[in-house]
Every structure is written in structure tokens, then in C-alpha cells.
């Protein structure tokens, strides 16, 4: 088999796993809260910046430069973004489901869009437009077999993604809290009647989204570097993925992410490298034309 094609396929799967990590948080928040979080890309960005601040030695506390090992920085970045996610839920998104208002979906989209701009331009004014390079997780290029070589950082990012996706799926399908989450996603009123604290489910969903986006941002930071609008393209791809997989479908998001990763890799081999970021949109049009509820989504029912 052609090693070039093989390496592109492997790269496609690697990118697919990373996209899945970003899209998973988005789809969980959508399924529980019916909110499309337009600032999800900035959650990703904050993850990258936190990793940089903790590990690169550029930030000092009491004149001691912070230069933790990157592997310690990753979970800390995840926790930081999760706390930020909880703050966003508490401060901005709670009225969506506690106050009666007209058009809550638009309210949430405009609010999170505003938040996204706020965070992007906040980062631009405070840290500037420079690209920052956090330390590597796994240095150098790794020899797999034959002529197949892969960058260590990419392997690390894909491995971390696979592990975190597995843990998340176990959490959602294997624990009682996860079952409560699924119940809330299916029927908010019904789950309140059987004694589920739905506000707490929202907090858990946002925290989970923060953990996953923070992990993605931190794990990708050595590959794509960190700058204020680093989250823009990944989050648009995550939007495509959750539409392709069916809005709110968790297995759909994972499978759609891997499909998109493969489409991009193969498309840049056979069609055009420059248009790599455009393929996602073509997939989106195709989905909305022929299967608007996505691969795994349920047809929308409106009460």
C-alpha cells in the first residue's frame, strides 16, 4: 500500500479524534441546554493559553517563573476551562431555562457570540496577536513501521482524545449522573418530576464541555500554537460535525468527527490542499440538503 495515502488516512483519523474532542462538549451542551455555544472556540483558546502560562516560564508568581511539565499543565488547563464554563453558565446562560422569554435560542446564540468576540479581543488587547509556543508533549517524529512516520505531538493529542472520549462515553452511559444527563436531554420537565436537579445537570454539562475543550486546546497547542483566534476554524468544524452527527447526538458527534477528518485528509490529497478548510462546509450543505436531522439525530419534534 502507498505509504503517502496511508499516512494521510492515519492523519485523518488523528484529526478526527481531535475534532471529536471539541465537538463532544458542544453537542453535550446542546443536548442538555438547547444552547449552541458560539464561544466554544474561545474555551479551546483559553485551554491553550492556560497551558502556555503554566508551562512556558513566561508567567511569574512571586518572581518564580511557572514552568511545570506540560503533562501536568494539561489537566490544570482542563480544570481552569471547566471553572470558566461553569461561570459562563451561572452568569450568562441560566436565564435561557429559568426565565420565561421569547426566542431563547437566539438569545443564547447572540450572547455566546458576544462572549466569543469579547474573549478574542480581550486576548488581543491583553496578550497581543503573537503566536505562542508551549513546550512539546512528546518530542520529535515517531517511526511507526515501514515508511510511516508521525509527529509525537499529534500521536499524543490523538491518544489523549481517544482516552478522554472513552472516559466521557463511560461517564454518560455508565454512571447514574450520566443517565440523569441523558434524561434531562430527552425531557426536561419529565426529569424534574422524577427528582433530577436540572440546573445541576446544566452545570455538569458546561463543566464537561469546558474540560473537553480545555483538553483539546492544550493538547493541540504545541501543534497549532496559541493565538487569539486559534479557536475560530476548529469551532466551525465542530459546528459542522454536530450538524452532521445530528444535533445533540453523542455517538453521532464522534463518528461524524472521524468522517470529517478523513474527508479533509483525502480531499487535500485528491482535490486541493488550499481548500482543506472549505470541505467542511461542503459536507454541511450536503447534510442539510439530504438529511437535515443528521446521521444519528432524531427528527425534530416541537411541543
Amino acid at each position: 500500500m502507498d505509504y503517502y495515502l496511508l499516512s494521510q488516512l492515519v492523519n485523518g483519523v488523528i484529526f478526527g479524534l481531535i475534532y471529536a474532542l471539541i465537538a463532544l462538549g458542544l453537542t453535550i451542551v446542546f443536548s442538555i441546554m438547547r444552547v449552541v455555544n458560539f464561544s466554544h472556540g474561545e474555551f479551546y483558546m483559553i485551554g491553550g493559553y492556560t497551558l502556555y502560562a503554566l508551562t512556558a516560564g513566561a508567567v511569574t508568581i512571586f518572581s518564580i517563573p511557572l514552568s511545570l511539565p506540560t503533562i501536568v499543565g494539561l489537566p490544570l488547563a482542563m480544570i481552569a476551562v471547566a471553572i470558566f464554563g461553569i461561570a459562563v453558565e451561572r452568569g450568562l446562560l441560566r436565564p435561557v431555562y429559568t426565565v420565561r422569554m421569547d426566542r431563547p435560542e437566539e438569545y443564547a446564540i447572540i450572547l455566546t457570540f458576544g462572549l466569543s468576540l469579547f474573549l478574542q479581543y480581550g486576548a488581543l488587547t491583553t496578550v497581543g496577536p503573537y503566536e505562542m509556543t508551549p513546550g512539546s508533549f512528546w518530542d520529535g517524529s515517531k517511526h511507526i513501521f515501514g515508511d510511516l512516520y508521525l509527529a509525537g505531538d499529534r500521536l499524543f493529542a490523538a491518544g489523549t482524545s481517544a482516552l478522554l472520549i472513552a472516559i466521557t462515553l463511560y461517564f454518560i452511559y455508565g454512571t447514574w449522573t450520566g443517565r440523569a444527563l441523558m434524561a434531562t436531554a430527552q425531557n426536561r420537565v419529565g426529569s424534574t418530576i422524577v427528582g433530577i436537579n436540572t440546573v445541576r445537570m446544566n452545570i455538569i454539562a458546561m463543566a464537561l464541555a469546558g474540560l473537553l475543550a480545555g483538553a483539546a486546546g492544550a493538547a493541540m497547542a504545541p501543534i497549532f500554537l496559541v493565538y487569539p483566534d486559534v479557536g475560530q476554524i476548529p469551532v466551525i468544524k465542530a459546528f459542522v460535525i454536530i450538524v452532521l452527527g445530528g444535533m445533540g447526538s453523542i455517538p453521532g458527534a464522534v463518528i461524524a468527527a472521524i468522517i470529517l477528518g478523513l474527508v479533509e485528509s483525502l480531499g487535500s490529497v485528491y482535490l486541493s490542499v488550499a481548500y482543506r478548510d472549505v470541505f467542511a462546509f461542503l459536507v454541511l450543505i450536503g447534510v442539510l440538503l439530504f438529511r437535515p436531522h443528521g446521521l444519528f439525530g432524531q427528527k425534530e419534534r416541537r411541543a
Binding site: G114, V240, V278, L288
Partner: protein
């Protein structure tokens, strides 16, 4: 309209007409950019404020209008005609002097190879309307957040395409386009340009006023209030959403094309960025969603604030606008006009109160 409203309207128009006689060139450009943003914010408001359709592609439609006329009047045709003339020279062994020499100069200065800018501006508006129709037909069937996601994807795709196809659009280098009017010393005639922008603004507001106060406007408002009820009452949702979308994109295309010819010398794919969409959104939301007055107030106020914040930092204005959007959405969704209108209504100064209230 009450008498108060008529007075305010006449006063605003009078001030707008005096502006070119008081302000110098830079301030006049700022005034024209206020008008440009009034057109964009008002036509976007027709979508979100009246029809309840949340689109993130409005800046992209302005960009499509600008690039259509740009490519027609300079880059696309001009470049390729020139390239073939240079090749003709090479065939004739003339070393690129006979035709190509004229052309190399001509490509950058004289835009004789392209169509006239006036035709270009109309083409820009029509192309934006056509693409708006296509996009609308494709994605207005869906409900809820799908539309927002799809228009955002569309907008980014158009921007990336313009950046990638630099053989035609010159990508991030920028596409030079001709001015519509120049004075005798070769500088753009900004006074005439301002008047043209004002004319477009007045046309936009009049068309929107007539539209939202007609029976068709009632259909749109019914969809905004409750799609299901509107459908039950016989409003064809997709048809009216698509119509609103086409009208709104046509205005965006016209505004983009006209503004490009009058005040922007170099087109850049940056004008399609999400940042531009953020500006339009912030102006509409801060001014007051669902009213015709709101976007005008919003555009005026935010552009003036922007000018004052240039000294602080090139990005500070966006930080402030994003904060304003969050604050307005969180605490008073009617925007600034929504804050004052209940008081004005109480004094019987205005006819109708805006639709958005928080219970």
C-alpha cells in the same frame, strides 16, 4: 407617524444633508461609514428583528457585492485581457511594449478594461440577492440554530475562497478598484460619495418602512412571534423568510459595492470576517432590535465610539462592543431605543413601542 416622529426625521435628514459642508475629508469618511453601517444594520434587522431569522452571513453579502463590482470593473476582466495582450506582444516579438506596456500601466491605474462602476454596483446588488436566494432556499427550511451555523459556515467559506483564489482576487494583497467620481486633481470626490451613500440609506429606510408596515410586514412579524401559529394562519414560512433574506442581502450587496467604489480603494477579504458581522450585530442589538430607529442609533453611536477609541488600542472598540452586546442582551433586550421608547410612548410622542421586553 406622530408629529414628533416627523420632526425628528426631518431634523435628522437636515443634519445629514449639512454634514458634507461642515466636515473635512476624514470626518466625512467617518460619516459615510456611519451611513454604510446604517444600511447594513437596518437590513440585518429586517432578518432578526422582524422575521426572526438569525443570519451570520450579512457581512459576507456586503463582501460579495463589493467583490462582484471589483472583479467586473478591474481585476478579473482587466487582468485577463491584459495577460492576453502581453502574450500577443510576445507573439509579435515586441517585447511587451506595444500592447502590454500600455496594459501594465493600465492595470494599476486605468480601469478601462472593466465595466463601468455604475453597472458594477448594480451587478453587485443583484449577485448578492441571487446568492442570498440560493442560500435562503437551501437553509431557511431548517429551524432553530441550524440557520445560524450554516450562514456562519457560508460566510467563512466565501472569505476563504476569496483568499485562496488570489489569481483573480489578489487575495490578502487586496484588489484595487476604481473610484466612481474623482475631482479634477484625481482625488476621490467624497462629497458626492457621501450624498450617494445618504441616498442609499434613505432608500433602504423608506423601503424597509413601507415593507414592515404593510401586510407583508405582518407576515414577517407573525413568524417572529410564533412560527407555528403563523403557519397555521396560512403564512408560507419558507417563502416569506426567503423573500426577507433576498431583500436584506440585496441591500447588503448594494451597500458593499457602492461603499467600495466611493470610499474603499482596496478590497480585502477581511471585510467578510466574523468581526464585521460582530460590528453589524452589535450596532443592531445595542441600538434596538425590531425597530427601524434602533439600528440607526446603534450605528451612529458605535461608529463615533469607535473613532474615539482608536487612540487607546486598535482592538479596544471590539472589546467594548462585545461587552455592550452582552450587557444589552442580559439586562435590556430592547436596546437603547427600547429603554427610551416606553417613556416616549407614554408622552404620546411615538406610535408604537418596540416588541422586545423581558418578563
Amino acid at each position: 407617524m406622530t408629529r414628533f416622529e416627523k420632526c425628528v426625521l426631518l431634523l435628522t435628514l437636515a443634519v445629514a444633508l449639512i454634514v458634507p459642508y461642515i466636515f473635512e475629508s476624514y470626518a466625512l469618511r467617518v460619516a459615510a461609514s456611519v451611513l454604510y453601517f446604517i444600511v447594513l444594520a437596518s437590513s440585518w434587522n429586517l432578518l432578526l428583528g422582524y422575521a426572526g431569522v438569525l443570519s451570520f452571513a450579512h457581512a459576507a453579502f456586503a463582501g460579495i457585492g463589493a467583490y462582484t463590482t471589483g472583479l467586473l470593473s478591474a481585476g478579473f476582466l482587466g487582468h485577463h485581457v491584459c495577460a492576453s495582450l502581453v502574450q500577443l506582444d510576445l507573439l509579435l516579438n515586441a517585447g511587451g511594449f506595444v500592447f502590454g506596456g500600455v496594459c501594465a500601466e493600465g492595470y494599476s491605474r486605468d480601469f478601462s478594461a472593466g465595466v463601468h462602476p455604475v453597472i458594477g454596483v448594480f451587478a453587485g446588488g443583484l449577485v448578492a440577492a441571487g446568492i442570498g436566494w440560493g442560500l435562503g432556499r437551501m437553509c431557511l427550511k431548517t429551524r432553530g440554530p441550524y440557520l445560524a451555523l450554516m450562514t456562519l459556515g457560508f460566510s467563512e467559506t466565501v472569505r476563504l475562497t476569496l483568499q485562496i483564489e488570489h489569481d483573480y482576487t489578489r487575495g490578502s494583497l487586496g484588489l484595487r478598484i476604481p473610484y466612481l467620481w474623482v475631482t479634477d486633481d484625481g482625488l476621490p470626490n467624497h462629497v458626492l460619495g457621501y450624498i450617494m451613500m445618504l441616498a442609499l440609506t434613505v432608500i433602504t429606510i423608506v423601503v424597509l418602512y413601507r415593507l414592515v408596515n404593510s401586510e407583508k410586514g405582518l407576515y414577517l412579524k407573525a413568524m417572529r412571534e410564533d412560527e407555528d401559529v403563523a403557519q397555521v394562519m396560512g403564512v408560507d414560512l419558507v417563502k416569506w423568510k426567503v423573500r426577507a433574506f433576498v431583500i436584506s442581502s440585496a441591500f447588503a450587496g448594494f451597500a458593499g459595492a457602492l461603499y467600495a467604489h466611493l470610499f474603499v480603494q482596496v478590497l480585502d477579504p477581511k471585510m467578510l470576517m466574523i468581526l464585521e458581522m460582530g460590528l453589524i450585530l452589535a450596532m443592531t442589538i445595542v441600538g434596538g432590535l425590531g425597530t427601524l430607529t434602533g439600528p440607526v442609533i446603534g450605528a451612529l453611536l458605535l461608529v463615533i465610539l469607535w473613532e474615539f477609541m482608536r487612540d487607546i488600542s486598535p482592538y479596544a472598540h471590539m472589546l467594548l462592543f462585545a461587552t455592550l452586546v452582552i450587557v444589552v442582551m442580559k439586562f435590556f433586550r430592547g436596546g437603547l431605543f427600547g429603554l427610551v421608547s416606553p417613556w416616549l410612548k407614554q408622552k404620546n410622542l411615538i406610535g408604537k413601542a418596540p416588541p422586545f421586553t423581558v418578563e
